[in-house]
């Protein structure tokens, strides 16, 4: 209470300052009038040109015919900017028509304004490492999550979708994994509001359909409403986010209203999606031959009664491609979008609504529905001293999915397994000889998620060079899911009824509030200019989770009503509060437009640490030197050298770990609750630290036709927050502590931007990004004696596996042989699993091309990743058992002297063969090169030539995602999480109208 009060007091004082100074100063300017015109370049009308009234945020954009219209007063100056063209300033004067011809510019970096979070900076002047994609890159992609739109497009940013199921999760790593055990998630900021990316889902309630129950909260963000996404990577850029910047920062800025005629944009798209890749499996003939050979190898002539596939119980001529049948369906995509935008001199608005519906590739009626509503309102006073921005968004998601993913079973079912349905359409159990995979679909998983986001920015110009700003945001997400497992998923022969039916109910709520008062002071004296920013943050968030399991129902109709369950268990109930307070500052110094220094610092306090360790200091220095100004080489129009060094932190651990608490346990006794210490008391741990270094060179060559940047970074994170293993004599297996382990991430990043062709009717831009990341565990005191000794090796990347080294198949025995590392003539588990495999990517690259020819535009994006992955043998039973296999197993040992890559088939009764195969499953035999080149996105659009007289436009587009993958990998899709759906190939057709 007291907190809130004092907190409120600060806020009120702020407002007081605003209004004390503001009211007398509002003054009347000359009345604005309508100014319009056509913007052209040498080739004709130029669309998409930003028209801004100087020294304000008011602006508009020219339409496809180059037309614009804006309200401005006679003393105003219009600033026209467009990427690749020189910025032009035109005084309005008395004329109401202003036609402007834009000039191509050799250097374009000036125009690219980059959002660095608390401040904005032009690409030319930036001292840190910031990658950006804009709405242009996003809108050509038929995706529903902003993370999907970022995949492969930014150097140093590795994004992998964990499942092709709509509404699932993503794994995001910016410049590698720096924390051994604490979180490695970047910080997401949406319009200034930190957006907790922790899933509200639950492993127990959703883990069979969504890997780890990890549902990306960013599903609630509509990519269509995004203006730009910036990723902050180095110390200079991230240090202002202090303790939360260690894993990088993702800034999402939504589209804002623009002054001018109220325009309505509507688009509708429809499309299809299916899985990218399948594994090549045995057909019936190959499969049955394998089985017969296995029995023969094992010396079994009478097929057992349960070998239904070969003993004649099942039709041996039947063939079903189970991948086609179970996950080979076509999902349908539908998407409706409408936006209204407009406003006058003082006030602009934008409202956007979107409805999205997507079905699944599984048989049955499953689908994901989403409604997004976003609004933006901006206002400024006539004298431009006061500015106000409001962003509000609401998202409703409903996802109905099967209770478990069929991707695993589709690989295992015998190809001659029975039909799914009997003639009357009911599930076929074939006299209880198999488990019908469709029975799983009797169980459903559904979730509903409601997200409300709101943020305001109030700014007041106290003096010409002194600006005050208060940014406030609120987010609330309610998540509810229900996983029903009715008895009908089991064979009716068991005679089960609804008394064994189960139902999980999981709810999660998350609310967060933030307010950030800031002050900005600019000073310019001759060749020197300073820009000082000071601010503070107050943030609190609360997360509640509750997972219930009910079993035993009178009727499956009651599965949604847990009160109807005979037994109700509370599996998990928790509530966490997290608070965060900090001060930050930035001092930027510029000398003669050539030399830049940027000093940032932040003092953070987090409730995740005990009183003594609550505050941490973080900071960085960045510098840039534009050397081209002095060199004046004809072919070099821009050259910059920049570098940065600094420290950021990581507090991504569970809340409350420092408290000395008792918690409820399920050991109640004689009417007393069960109560025991929650953990060993250790308040002495603090932030994990990440020291980041970077040097980079940025070049603009041949009048800006080619821009190149190269960066080398080296990050070392230390003071690692881990659960430190303890001997049991301490009473607990581990303790939350800092360990002086060091993880190093280093690498090179390249970016190449080229204007390949720039002709009257034909423009072609191309860009390439390339990252060569390297991860290494430098130090880990006491590793050998810790529980992590099997997981990590000093000097190796974190993401390694220790495996048996497969030597091949012994031509005599027909069995796999492995290297005996410790030479004891036995394969004794851990000691002989010394073959190291690194699963982290070695090369990440993306090539993007965009072309326009008259009314046509075309874009293409290729993604390349070099890495290793689990191949088609991962998680399989020995070939010869009653489980289908990839066709790779056909090349096997058959008789004495054979040299073959696959050992002899066995039905599992041959102990030696079975053991050898289970070792094979833990050997480098299950790892293959999983590098791929993917045609990640492709789009073609056509602008219908409409009458010139109005601003109406109509655009037709064909867009595709994950269209084709070039790879030698045989284990399905190289990005697939084993046992779950691979990413989907999506093709969609869109019509867009602007009125």
């Amino acid at each position: 209470m007291k907190n809130n009060f004092r907190h409120g007091l600060a806020f009120v004082s702020f407002l007081a300052i605003f209004f004390n100074y503001s009211f007398p100063l509002f003054s009347q300017n000359l009345p604005p009038t309508n100014v319009s015109g056509i913007i052209t370049d040498a080739d004709g009308p130029l669309s998409g040109v930003n028209v801004l009234i100087k020294n304000t945020t008011r602006g508009t954009i020219s339409n496809l015919d180059g037309q614009y219209s804006i309200r401005a007063s006679t003393i105003d100056t219009l600033v026209l900017t467009y990427l690749g063209y020189k910025t032009q300033e035109v005084a309005v004067g008395k004329s109401s028509t202003l036609n402007v011809k834009m000039q191509l510019d050799a250097t374009t970096l000036d125009q690219v304004v980059i959002n660095a979070g608390y401040y904005k900076v032009s690409d030319k002047e930036k001292t840190g490492s910031i990658a950006q994609i804009t709405s242009k890159d996003i809108e050509n992609q038929p995706v529903s999550n902003p993370l999907a739109a970022m995949q492969g497009r930014m150097p140093g940013v590795d994004i992998v979708q964990t499942s092709g199921v709509v509404g699932g999760g993503f794994k995001v790593r910016i410049r590698g994994q720096s924390s051994i055990l604490a979180g490695n998630e970047p910080l997401y900021i949406i319009d200034g509001l930190p957006y907790n990316s922790q899933s509200l889902g639950s492993q127990s309630a959703a883990g069979l359909i969504i890997p780890g129950g990890d549902i990306s909260p960013l599903n609630a963000i509509d990519p269509n409403t995004i203006e730009s996404i910036e990723v902050l990577k180095d110390a200079d850029a991230t240090a202002i986010y202090g303790s939360r910047g260690a894993n990088g920062v993702v800034l999402i800025t939504t589209k804002k209203g623009k002054e001018g005629k109220t325009s309505i944009t509507m688009s509708s798209s429809t499309g299809v999606a299916n899985i990218t890749r399948k594994i090549k499996l045995l057909n019936t003939e190959q499969y049955l031959n394998m089985r017969r050979e296995a029995f023969a190898n094992d010396g079994i002539t009478d097929y057992p009664a349960t070998a239904f596939d070969v003993n004649g119980t099942w039709d041996q001529n039947r063939y079903t491609n189970w991948q086609n049948e179970l996950i080979g369906g076509t999902a349908k995509l539908r998407d409706l979008n409408a936006a209204i935008s407009g406003g006058n001199n003082n006030t602009q608005f934008r409202i956007n609504g979107r409805y999205l519906n997507e079905t699944t590739v599984y048989p049955g009626n499953f689908n994901y529905d989403r409604i997004n509503l976003n609004s933006n309102l901006q206002h400024h006073s006539n004298d431009d001293r006061f500015q106000f921005t409001l962003n509000a968004g609401y998202t409703l998601e409903e996802n109905l999915l099967p209770g478990s993913d069929l991707s695993g079973v589709a690989l295992q079912l015998a190809p001659n397994a029975p039909a799914l349905h009997t003639e009357d359409g009911s599930l076929n159990w074939e006299n209880s000889t198999w488990v019908n995979p469709l029975a799983q679909l009797e169980g459903v998983y559904n979730n509903t998620s409601k997200t409300l986001l709101g943020s305001t920015i109030m700014q007041y110009k106290l003096l010409k060079n002194l600006n005050l700003k208060v940014q406030t945001g609120y987010r609330s997400t309610n998540f509810e899911s229900n996983n029903q497992i009715p008895h009908t998923i089991y064979d009716p022969a068991y005679g089960l009824d609804s008394s064994v039916s189960q139902s999980y109910l999981h709810t999660g709520t998350h609310t967060s509030f933030i307010t950030e008062p800031q002050i900005n002071w600019k000073l310019k004296k001759e060749n020197h200019s300073w820009n000082v920013l000071l601010g503070s943050t107050f943030q609190s968030q609360k997360t509640n989770r509750l997972t219930l399991l009910g079993y035993g129902f009178a009727n499956n109709g009651f599965l949604e009503n847990l009160s109807a369950a005979n037994t109700l268990l509370i599996l998990n109930e928790n509530s966490n509060q997290y608070k965060y307070q900090s001060f930050f500052a930035r001092v930027n110094y510029e000398f003669k437009n050539q030399l830049y220094f940027n000093l940032t610092g932040r003092r953070d306090g987090s409730s995740r640490f005990s009183n003594s360790y609550r505050y941490g200091n973080f900071g960085a220095i960045g510098a840039a030197w534009i050397f081209s100004e002095q060199l004046k080489l004809p072919w070099l129009n821009f050259g910059k050298l920049r570098g940065s060094y600094g420290i950021t932190g990581n507090d991504q651990i569970a809340d409350y770990q420092f408290l000395q608490n008792y918690f409820l346990v399920d050991h109640s006794y004689d009417g007393n609750i069960g109560l025991e210490p929650a953990r060993i008391y250790n308040p002495n741990y603090q932030w994990e630290e990440n020291k980041k270094r970077e040097v980079a060179i940025e070049l603009g060559l041949f009048k800006g036709a080619l821009n190149l940047s190269t960066a080398y970074y080296n990050n070392r994170s230390s003071n690692q927050l881990i659960d430190y293993s303890l001997p049991a004599t301490t009473g607990f297996p581990s303790i939350q502590a800092n360990l002086n382990a060091i993880v190093e991430n280093s690498g090179f990043e390249f970016e190449l931007l080229g204007r390949v062709v720039r002709k009257e009717h034909f423009k072609w831009n191309s860009s390439l990004n390339l990252s060569l990341p390297k991860n290494k565990l430098v130090a880990f005191p006491g590793l050998e004696n810790s529980t992590y000794s099997n997981q990590f090796v000093i000097g190796q990347p974190l993401n390694i596996l220790k495996l048996y080294n497969l030597k091949g198949v012994n031509p005599e025995t027909g069995l796999y042989e492995f290297e005996d590392y410790n030479g004891d003539n036995e394969l004794s588990g851990l000691e002989d699993r010394q073959y190291l495999v690194d699963l982290s990517p070695k090369i990440l690259a993306g090539l993007s091309n965009s072309l326009t020819y008259r009314n046509w535009s075309f874009s293409l994006f290729l993604q390349y990743v070099k890495k290793k992955g689990f191949n088609e043998y991962y998680g399989t039973e020995p070939p010869g058992t009653m489980s289908n296999q990839s066709t790779s197993i056909l090349d096997r040992w058959q008789e004495l002297g054979d040299n073959a890559p696959m050992q002899q088939y066995t039905t599992g009764v041959n102990d030696a063969a079975y053991t050898a195969y289970s070792r094979f499953s833990q050997s480098n035999g299950i790892i293959s090169d999983a590098s791929f080149l993917r045609l990640k996105s492709l789009s073609i659009s056509y602008n219908l030539p409409l009458a010139q007289s109005n601003n109406n436009t109509c655009k037709l587009s064909l867009m595709a995602q994950n269209l084709y993958t070039f790879t030698n990998f045989k284990g399905g899709d190289p990005e697939q999480t084993k046992g779950f759906l691979p990413p989907l190939r999506r093709i969609s057709f869109q019509a867009q109208f602007q009125l």
């Binding site: 300052i17 106290l462 002194l466 608490n661 109560l675 025991e676 210490p677 009473g731 607990f732």
Partner: protein, 465 residues
């Protein structure tokens, strides 16, 4: 010029003014968060009698559900029953419990790790509770004495089983993890001294009455009973006799004449019982041992144990169950008869009962040379079992009679049989023939592998592993 300076001063003044507000408006206590749901601050736990008591009763709850004395498959009744000659294994092949049955236990055996880890976790809870109660200003002296007495009792019980299973072990009396992470093993003798010291203090602190109407928490007699057992293990016959006599002479403990009443919740034989979690629940022993159709899904009672009972031993009738599938028959321990929820609870797990005290005293008396006294105590057990009185004339007869009586009276109760074979040096004689994996070093279990890695001070490993 002057106006410029003024303008700048004004800017600076404003700038610092705003900063002052920014800084002053912050507050250290902004970061204070409420306690998480379902958790209470340790200090608060021990300011309230109810929560302080709950911290103690949880010790019994853990013994019942998880640790050492649990009737589950990871308790001593099951594991040491398999390890000795009481139970036969019918579970899945390769399981950790099967290693006990076959005497193929390795240092990485999961059950061994659980026994060790759970016991030391329980000991931590005892120490945490003792520290909490001692530091509490709010609890009355009476409550404090009772709670500390109970925690000391449970701490001693935990260490008693650990020293019996693992030999030399650390004796943990603090919650200081830095100290506990590097402890060394104490010799068995020192461990026993610490156990006795804890039990004596517990006996001293605890009232002769139970803290609640039922016999489900430790009192003075519970501590004395356990003390009697510890003295027996150490061969301190005089003290073993004194403590057992002390308990036997309490008229509240009357041996039930009907064997079928011995394990009921109202059994007058009981000295310490563990009460099931929810009303209507019965014991975990019942749920673990009883089965209704063959082949058995769980361990069975070794047929020799049943067949070697005397012809008209009533315990065969009352405490042994049998299941047949027409061709084969299997026995199971049927001391506990309930394996399902009965609405109202019928049976409690009996940890200490008066019969054991008679057996302890019989042995103590006999070893002191009082063979008549020994026979008397044994005969009180035999009479109830419907058997003839015996008389003892030599010390060989004594050992034989005691071992036999303990085997038939205490079977599948918390590993009594194994501990008897071990302390009497008879394990090799009895087990070498029936356990092909038997080795003389099997007398101790291995220290869990992970422990030796995490705390090298626990080296060396027990011989044979």
């Amino acid at each position: 010029m002057k106006t410029i300076i003024n303008q700048q001063n004004k800017t600076l003044a404003l700038f610092w003014g705003v900063i002052a507000i920014l800084v002053l408006s912050s507050c250290e206590d902004y970061l204070e968060v409420q306690d998480p749901v379902g958790q209470i601050n340790t200090e608060t736990v021990f300011t309230d009698e109810n929560t302080a008591t709950a911290a103690i009763t949880t010790l019994y709850g853990k013994l019942r559900d998880q640790v050492l004395l649990t009737g589950n498959s990871n308790g001593l009744g099951m594991l040491m029953g398999l390890y000795a000659d009481e139970l036969d294994y019918y579970g899945s092949p390769g399981a950790s419990a099967e290693q006990f049955y076959l005497h193929q236990v390795t240092a990485s055996n999961q059950m061994v790790k659980e026994l060790w880890d759970n016991a030391y976790h329980l000991i931590y809870l005892c120490n945490a509770a003792i520290e909490g109660v001692v530091n509490s200003d709010a609890l009355t002296e009476e409550v404090k004495t009772q709670l500390i007495g109970e925690a000391l009792f449970v701490r001693a019980v935990g260490h008693f089983y650990l020293v019996n299973l693992f030999g030399d072990i650390p004796y943990i009396t603090t919650t200081n993890y830095q100290q506990n992470a590097t402890v060394t093993r104490l010799s068995e003798q020192l461990v026993y001294e610490a156990i006795i010291s804890d039990l004596l203090e517990a006996k001293n602190l605890l009232e002769t009455n139970y803290p609640t109407p039922e016999r489900i928490r430790a009192n003075n007699y519970v501590a004395a009973s356990f003390l009697a057992r510890v003295y027996l293990h150490l061969g301190q016959w005089q003290r073993a006799e004194e403590e057992s006599t002390y308990v036997i002479n309490n008229p509240d403990y009357v041996m039930e004449t009907d064997l079928n009443r011995e394990f009921l919740k109202e059994s007058t034989s009981a000295i310490l019982q563990l009460k099931p979690k929810n009303e209507g629940d019965n014991t975990l022993e019942g749920a673990s041992f009883i089965f209704s159709s063959g082949p058995p899904p769980v361990p069975t009672l070794n047929y020799r144990l049943v067949e070697e009972m005397e012809e008209d031993d009533l315990r065969k009738e009352s405490w042994v169950g049998v299941v047949s599938d027409g061709t084969n028959a299997w026995y199971f321990p049927n001391k506990y008869k309930q394996n399902l929820n009965t609405g109202t609870t019928i049976e409690y797990s009996v940890v200490l009962r008066i019969a054991e005290l008679h057996l302890i005293r019989a042995e103590a008396r006999g070893m002191k040379g009082n063979l008549t006294g020994a026979a008397n105590d044994l005969n009180s057990i035999r009479t109830r079992a419907g058997l003839q009185n015996i008389s003892i004339s030599t010390s060989e007869e004594l050992i034989d009679a005691i071992l036999k009586e303990r085997r038939f009276e205490l079977f599948t109760e918390y590993g009594h049989r194994w501990f008897d074979l071990k302390r009497l040096g008879l394990a090799a004689d009895v087990l070498a023939n029936i356990k092909p994996g038997w080795q003389s070093t099997n007398i101790l279990l291995p220290i869990p592998e992970a422990e030796l890695l995490l705390n090298p001070n626990l080296q060396p490993q027990n011989p044979g592993y």
